[in-house]
Structure formats: structure tokens, C-alpha cells
Symmetry: C2
Subunit: 499 residues, 2 copies
Amino acid sequence: MSHEDRIRLPALRSRITTAEAAAEWIRDGMVVGMSGFTRAGDAKAVPLALAARARREPMKITLMTGASLGGDVDRQLTEAGAISRRMPFQVDTVLRQAINRGEVMFIDHHLSETVEMLRTRQIPPIDIAIIEAVAITETGALVPTTSIGNSASFAILADKVIVEINTSQSPALEGLHDIFIPKHRPQREPMPLVAPHDRIGTSAIEIPPEKILGIVITDKADSTSTVLPADAETAAIAAHLVAFFEREVAQGRLTERLLPLQAGIGTVANAVMSGLGAGPFEHLTMYSEVLQDSTFDLFDAGKLDFASGSSITLSPAKARQVFGDLDRYKDRLVLRPQEVSNHPEIIRRLGIIALNTALEADIYGNVNSTHVLGTHMMNGIGGSGDFARNAYLSIFATKSVAKQGAVSSIAPMVSHVDHAPQDVDILVTEVGLADLRGLAPRERAAAIIANCAAEPYRGMLQDYHARAVATCGGHTPHRLEEAFSWHVRYRDTGTMRPD
Amino acid sequence: MSHEDRIRLPALRSRITTAEAAAEWIRDGMVVGMSGFTRAGDAKAVPLALAARARREPMKITLMTGASLGGDVDRQLTEAGAISRRMPFQVDTVLRQAINRGEVMFIDHHLSETVEMLRTRQIPPIDIAIIEAVAITETGALVPTTSIGNSASFAILADKVIVEINTSQSPALEGLHDIFIPKHRPQREPMPLVAPHDRIGTSAIEIPPEKILGIVITDKADSTSTVLPADAETAAIAAHLVAFFEREVAQGRLTERLLPLQAGIGTVANAVMSGLGAGPFEHLTMYSEVLQDSTFDLFDAGKLDFASGSSITLSPAKARQVFGDLDRYKDRLVLRPQEVSNHPEIIRRLGIIALNTALEADIYGNVNSTHVLGTHMMNGIGGSGDFARNAYLSIFATKSVAKQGAVSSIAPMVSHVDHAPQDVDILVTEVGLADLRGLAPRERAAAIIANCAAEPYRGMLQDYHARAVATCGGHTPHRLEEAFSWHVRYRDTGTMRPD
């Protein structure tokens, strides 16, 4: 495929430039919006050229993306000291350290909300957007690649747009996208999406072509998924959830189609989704953010009818299979802006079954998704808050212990709360599953300790809870002087075990 | 008005019975759904007859309502030992004590979610509904009184319904209600409500008349509001918010109409809403849960065009004025099921400005709305979570201190988290207002401590935060061993002051 096929509006072909030249358009203090969601469809060339420039010439930007970037972009920009502010999500080790040193101000949004705040000018506007595209259409519209994320609104709201045409991205991606942008209030109307497969928008990002400052041609592949294969614990978690769904079907609360599934990114959620393929479920659908290997495993197993997401992030082998033969899946897939994939209106209407991963949970079912020891940011809340609050059923999964057993993922009290008990219906570990629907806090504690915690922590939690009930009482008994003692012990001794 | 006018389906008139006889239909172990939301429109006769019966004849029920009840219902049922489980909200002192002793299992729902969980049978079904009505129509439909709350879905989902026709409630209430019930999934469609004044449902609760077991005639008035008049602190909070909204208008982010307003129940929110009448705002609208005195103050001041709620709860004087001349307001008012008033879809679409009250907040903007000292339930989360998560702008207000200064409402770390920082855009006390939009945690801490805390706590918070940054660091610096030391000191010494 030639550049002519990728840039179908001839007037734009003269705007092809180098990454280095494009990086010069970015000035110190700018707010830059880049494509990229869960390492997919991120701008790859201009950001690295910008990092190279920032190493020579000190400058700082506010960097907004859809979610996490792949490659080395966050690392190189951080090492160059080029990021002053970052939102709404990240997963990079070097950037994370800078955030936790207080050098980069990180704003951890619900993923559906960033463009709402931009559109209403509640956060500073984007000066320049850098968007990866498969192609530019005859009218100058941008065809995204393997993610949409916030790209559409970034391109629409920015004064200037740099496009990276990535020739390694399959032209077959064109037609996969469904770009819907809500109107400004008070003109906003209902979103006419009533099933995961509904298409309500356009297949490309429509912007005035004159906003396109320059076009950079790249051929760097998306970073691949870092998801680990299923292990004994993730298989056990999946088995508990399959058994749970079977009971829900038997009791008539769900059909064998279940309801549209959302799965957070990562090893646990991916393993659980794959595990659903072993259950007696048929004609499943997904309405999720990121489509991982498990989505295509379920397609191949004939279990999944349709999947809606905001990005596709795959392992190397699965990427070769899927993108090498995308037409095989294309009529069962759609990618949407993350504002739509994560929209409260749609999540509530469709009745999503939301599956997200907890860093830790506590005996009452509060969930910490983000902060190690209550202080250090891991990645960000991502879309978990959009889904957990508004879902039909909100499931959180975690292994019962971490760090070779030195850390209990079930704590007396979580050191940071991302999800309140109202938003945690089911908590599951490899030990078992606690169904918390309709339970009061003292009942939730009994269910979580008995079903989700591993020894010796289970006994320690029973002891903590009994003493909290006896000495402090209340609706949600706690001993505040002791609630974080496990975390402090781990911090000071390297283990939550008492000795 | 005669009973014939109140019971317009003649076949039902023979079902008139006494409260005592109706109470006999309720059996030990039943799940009972009662009308009532913020003390308005609650069933008043049968519940008290049930309490009298339970004092003679031990029995326990699960009691569901819309939100809080008035009169003595929760107290008398609790004193009779008749409540085993209670959801989704309450405000009664005696019931609260029983909850905090662990004698009553209280399930603290987001108010939009209770009927979703009932409809999908994720919590045990309602055996019998007791619904206060102004009238029963020619077709046997129930015309609610001063609240809808969960009444419509309770009546639709229950096998059997007891109706309390309350002759003290104005017949002019008929026509005020708009009852919309979402379809079961996957047939659910967009809710066609695009402005606070839109009517999308029916004016009465349509149920098969044969479900009506009995009709009890009462004339007990609604309990009146316990909201206190504005004081110096609430007036200062209102002034800070008026100034904030003026700046938003000046900067072009809002117009002088603002966006539809939601205000939580209580003295602070009521005072702030009244205070808006002093600002340069025009053609305001409300899309809220409870309509308090301030709603009618704003109508009378010519500032408010329309108000949508789920209940009307007024002071005695205001109740006489409003219900004595309801036709004056009727075309500017609508009451909806709490599932609709609090629906994520509508909240996000309309772009609600949500104003709720915090029990305490912390330096990072986490908010505790429910738990005293992290353990003892006050009332419940109510609708604050429905609104704060999905609103255009989420504001939390509190006085900076409580208990004559012995308690700082701004703590190093809240002892219970109902609202994560992502859901707290503005924090305001009488000291000042912190605009937290687009800020990272360390910046939020600086803004909250400087603008919202009162001395000596402000200096103590600065000291805590500086030491947390220096010794622990992280994205959200905390000293876990010290985070609750203020709460423990208050519990043990009666004050958070150090000596």
C-alpha cells in the first residue's frame, strides 16, 4: 500500500514531514494529547523525537492520552524530564517512580471523564494532538489504528493535529471504528446504543484538514501485551466464577448468554475470560475497554458473538494471528471512544457484568486498585470506577496473597479506597468467592474472610474482626489504631506475617 | 373530598379496612416495601399497627423503603424488635443505635440501585408493599403523595399491596408525578429525558387492582423537615459557592442558568441553595432527589424555572404555604421514582451540578458521608454516590469543625471513604473553597489545607502532610501509623486537639 492509499486527500500529501521536524512544533508548557490506549494505537515516532529534543533543550509538557502507552514513550519522556503533568492513566515503571517522587503530577481520572472535562474546559485545553492513523480519508478524516481511546476528542478539540500514518497497521482496520461524540449540554441527547453491536457514529475522526500540521510516516509495531499465561490461581479464580455464573443461570437471574461482559486489563481478568470458554455459556457478548487475547480465544471457541472495546492489545502470537486475518473477526468487532465504551449511560442500560482486578480488598469489601501501601501509585483507577459504579454486577478478583505470601491481598482495612462496598458485589480469589449482594458489613466480613482469605491471614482477620466487634462495635467495626498495622509491618519487616 | 373521590374504582371500596387488620397480613420473615423518601409520603398507619402487633407477638421483617421515614415508624418497629434487615437509608436515632450494635443488618445502597437489584432478583423479593396514596384511579392505579421514591417498583414487584389513602394529603398532588419504569434487559431503551421538565411516564402507579389486599384511610400529616436555618457558617459556604459560580460564568464555562442542580438533604445544602438566590443567576433548574424549603424560596425569588425531585420535604411553615397553594407551583414541579431522579444516564446527560454534604473530608479530597469514627453509621450514602460519580461537577460542603471545635472535618485521612477523589471536584467549608479539578494529590492537599481547614487544624495538617512527604513520599503521601491518630485521640479524649 502506497502513501497515496494511506493519504487519500491529495492536498495533505505535501505535509509529510519527519518526526524530528514535527516535534519542533511542540513548545515548552504545551498540553499535548496523544493517541494510545492500553499500549495500542499510540503515537510512536513524534513522542520519541520529542524526548530526544527535550534531552538537548529542557522543556516540559502536560501529556494526556487515552490510557497507557506502549514502547518507551512514557519512559523516555520522563527520563528527558519532559513531563510536568500526566493524565489519565499510565503503566510505565520509570514514570511511576517519578510520580511517586512527586516530580510528575499525575491526575488519575475515571477514563470516561477526561474528554468531558476537556470539552467543558474544566481542565486546560489541548494545544496539539498527535494521533496514529491507518489512513487519512478523501475528506481528511483520520482512521484510527488499534485503539480510539481519547483520540477523536483530542483531534477535534485541539487547534493543531500531527498525524502518524503507521504502515505496519493493517489497512483492514478501516471500518472497525465507530466514533460517536456527545453534543454539548444542554443539547445532549440519549446515546442510541442498545446492544454491544450497535453502530452509532462514523468510521473515522472528522476534522477540518487545515488543522493537520504535518504527517509522519512510521512503521513501528504496537507494543504487545505483557499479560502472563493462566496459572493455578487464576485458573481457580476462573473456575469459581464459572460456577457462580452457572448458579445464576440455574436460579434464573441470568441466561446462558449472561449479559455483556467487561474485563479489566491484566493477567487475572484475561485468564477469567478465557476460563468462561470452558463454561456452558453461549452467545456471549463483550462491552469492554480493552480486547485482549481472551476475546479472540472466545471467538475461536464459538462462545462469543460480539465484542465492543476501545482498543485491541494482544500477545505477539495472538497479534500475528488476529491482525494477519482481521477480516475473519471484523464483523464481530467494534472499537469506540473510551467515553462511549465506559459511559455510565450505556453501562447501566446494557447491564454490564464488570470484572476488574483489585490490588487489595478489605474485610468489608472496600477495594484498592491503585495505591501500594496507601501511598505509591501503581497504574491508576482506569475504567474500573466507570464500570463498578454503574454495572449490573461488579466483580473484583485478586490472588489472595502476593509477594510469595508476605502480603495478604485481604486486609483488615485497605490502605486506599478506590471502590466503596456498594460497588463490589462479588469478591473472588483462588480460595473462593464471596457473594456480597444484599449483605450488611458484618455479614460481608464473615463471607470475605471465610471465602477469600488464605491462612495464616484468615485466622488473623477473624481475630481482628472479633476484637473490632467486641471493643469498638458499630455498623462497620474497626480498630482504627490497628487497621493499618499489617501494612506498617510489611513496610518495616518485609512481611505481613506476625513473626 | 369523600372516600368515593379518593377511591375511584368502585370495586375497591369494599377493601377498606383498619390498620390493625392490614398489619395482620404481614407475617414473620416477610420482606416489606414501604413508601417514604426523606420523611415524605411514607406509610403511616399500618407500620405503627405492625409495631404494636410485634410488641405482643415477636416477629421480624426485612424493611425496604425509598429513603428515610418520618414519624415514629423506624423507632417503633425497632423498639418492638421487628426489623431484622433494613435498606437502603434511614435517619432514626433508635434504629441507628440498633444498627451500630449489630442488631439490625443495614444495607446501605446507592439510592438508584435498590429497585435494579430487586427487579433482577439479586436481593430477596418483596412480599408485600405498603404505599401511601392520594387516590386510587378509575383503573386501580395508585396516585402517590409527596414522594415516589421506590413506591412504584415496590408496588409493581410485590405480590400484594396495601394502600394507605391519606386524606391529609392535598388532592392537588395528582398530576405532579411522572412514573417511568425501565424495561428488563436486554430490551432496555434510552430514557427519553433530555431536560428536567420532560415527562416520560404516567401520572400514577399502574398495577392490577386485584393485587390490592386492603385500603386503610388515614389523615396523619407528613413529618416536617428538621433542617435548621442558615447560620454564619452555612451563609459563608453559600457565599463561597456563589462567588465560585460567578467565576465559572465569567470564564465562560457556565451560563447564568448554570446547569441543573442537585442538592442533598440537610441544613448545609438547603442553605447553599437558598444562597444561590442572592447570586446573579437566572432561569435555574433543579434535577434532584428531595425538594426542600430552598426550592420554593428560589421559585418565589423568581430564580428557579423548574424543579424535578423524588420527594418534597418542608418545614411546617413552608409546608402550609406550598401545599395550601400547590397549583401556584404545580406546572414547575415533577416528582419521579428515585431510580429516575438518581439515574446515572440522566445525571451524566444533563450535566448535573451536584451538591452534597460531607461528614468529613481529608487532605486529598476523599469524603466520608456516613461513618462516625469510621465505624458508626450515621444515615447512609443516599444518592450522593449516584450523583458524585456521574455529575458534571461534584461539590461537597461541610463546616470545617464540629463539636464546638473538638473535631476537624478536614482530617489527615478520612476514617471511611464513600467518595474517592475523582468524584470530589470542589470542597468547600466556611473557611473557603478548594477547586480540585485537574490537580494531582499533592496539589489537592495544598489547596484543601489552605482553603478549607481552620486553625489549629490547618497547621497540624500542614505538619502531617510535610512529614508524610518527607518520610513516606509517594503519589499520595501518608503516614499510615499516624493517619487515624486524630480520630483515636477524639475517641479517647473527646477532642482532636493535641492537648
